[in-house]
């Protein structure tokens, strides 16, 4: 039986102040971690009460909600729900057809939404200061947007609505990749053991922050310089978020996941992936399934 993580500490993959290239995991005191889990549950209960409140239309409910609701369109076909690959499967670059379809939906969404939403979303992922301040504030408040200053709330709700606008146009599932940097004392010698001990199958993890991911393991793996070997890649199955990548002309498949997401660990293994040049490489991945309530 594998040794479980330290009973005094929990590894919170989303607590450190990271970048779009990598989240930064932080060790959190076990009691403080439990408090944060309880706080999130309370916030979700408040959202459930908002949904039950009579006399509000959907727009008003969205304004009162703390976590953004999932607004995904129905699947176009059962095969369009992408499943997590098996441990022995080689991850391939996204096909040109997939990239073109997603890029088209991105453009259609950008043409349709209010400019204020488009600008808020663009500022988040193109301004380093905005990315850091927004996500640090959300993490500090355990995802409670209503605890933030009014101007920040307005901006965050605009970003949420921009993501939701894409979700409404998207009839596909996603398998996404995001790097997570483990604490400083982890290196390539103990990374695998550390991950299997602390991310056992069935464990639930929460992202209070927004997450930038990509649809291609080779693209995410190339975004970090990791000489110590302390970066793993989360491989996430979800229907949420907005594509911010390009068509097949550019090797860019960025995807912005909303805040307030919850995932369940499905497994940890060394995964092989193929680059566009045809080389095969490996990367330690933690597989996650989206279990966000209301997604």
């Amino acid at each position: 039986m594998p040794r479980t993580g330290n009973p005094d500490y929990v590894v919170d993959a989303d607590r450190g102040s990271g970048s779009t290239a990598a989240k930064r995991a932080r060790l959190v005191d076990a009691d403080a971690y439990s408090d944060r889990v309880g706080t999130r549950e309370g916030l979700r209960q408040l959202d459930a009460m908002t949904e039950q409140m009579p006399g509000l239309n959907r727009l008003q409910r969205d304004r009162e909600r703390i976590m953004p609701r999932g607004t995904t369109a129905d699947l176009g076909h059962p095969r369009m729900e992408r499943k997590l690959p098996g441990a022995a499967d080689v991850r391939q670059p996204l096909s040109a057809r997939q990239r073109n379809a997603r890029s088209k939906a991105r453009l259609e969404t950008a043409r349709a939404i209010p400019l204020a939403q488009l600008r808020a979303q663009r500022d988040l992922v193109t301004r380093p200061d905005r990315w850091q301040a927004t996500n640090d504030a959300l993490s500090e408040q355990t995802g409670d947007v209503q605890a933030l200053p009014a101007a920040d709330q307005v901006r965050i709700r605009r970003i949420d609505r921009a993501i939701q606008a894409y979700e409404r146009r998207n009839d596909r599932g996603h398998v996404l990749y995001a790097n997570v940097q483990m604490p400083f004392y982890i290196n390539d010698g103990n990374l695998h053991g550390f991950m299997t001990n602390n991310f056992e199958p069935g464990r639930r993890i929460s992202f209070d922050r927004y997450t930038v991911a990509t649809h291609q393991l080779h693209e995410t793996a190339g975004q970090v310089h990791d000489p110590r070997g302390r970066v793993v890649t989360f491989e996430m199955q979800t229907r949420r978020g907005a594509y911010l990548g390009h068509s097949d002309k550019v090797d860019s498949t960025a995807h912005l996941l909303p805040r307030g997401m919850e995932f369940e660990v499905a497994g940890v293994h060394q995964a092989s992936y193929r680059t566009p040049e045809g080389r095969t490489k490996t990367r330690l991945v933690v597989q996650l399934r989206d279990v966000t309530p209301g997604s």
Partner: protein, 52 residues
């Protein structure tokens, strides 16, 4: 509110159709950026290129 001029409409359309990239500066916030050497091969940011 006065109607938008053609120039304003064109500027708005251009803004909506701008397929911007996630800023590489943000990539560099977490750690130094790797240097692309060939295709999708990357080297350490401080690594000297091999003499040809």
């Amino acid at each position: 509110m006065s109607p938008k001029t053609d120039a304003q409409k064109a500027a708005e359309r251009a803004e909506r159709e701008d397929m911007y990239f996630v800023n590489p500066e943000i990539f560099a916030m977490g750690m130094p950026l790797p240097r692309r050497t060939d295709g999708s091969d990357y080297a350490a940011p401080d690594e000297q290129p091999e003499p040809r």
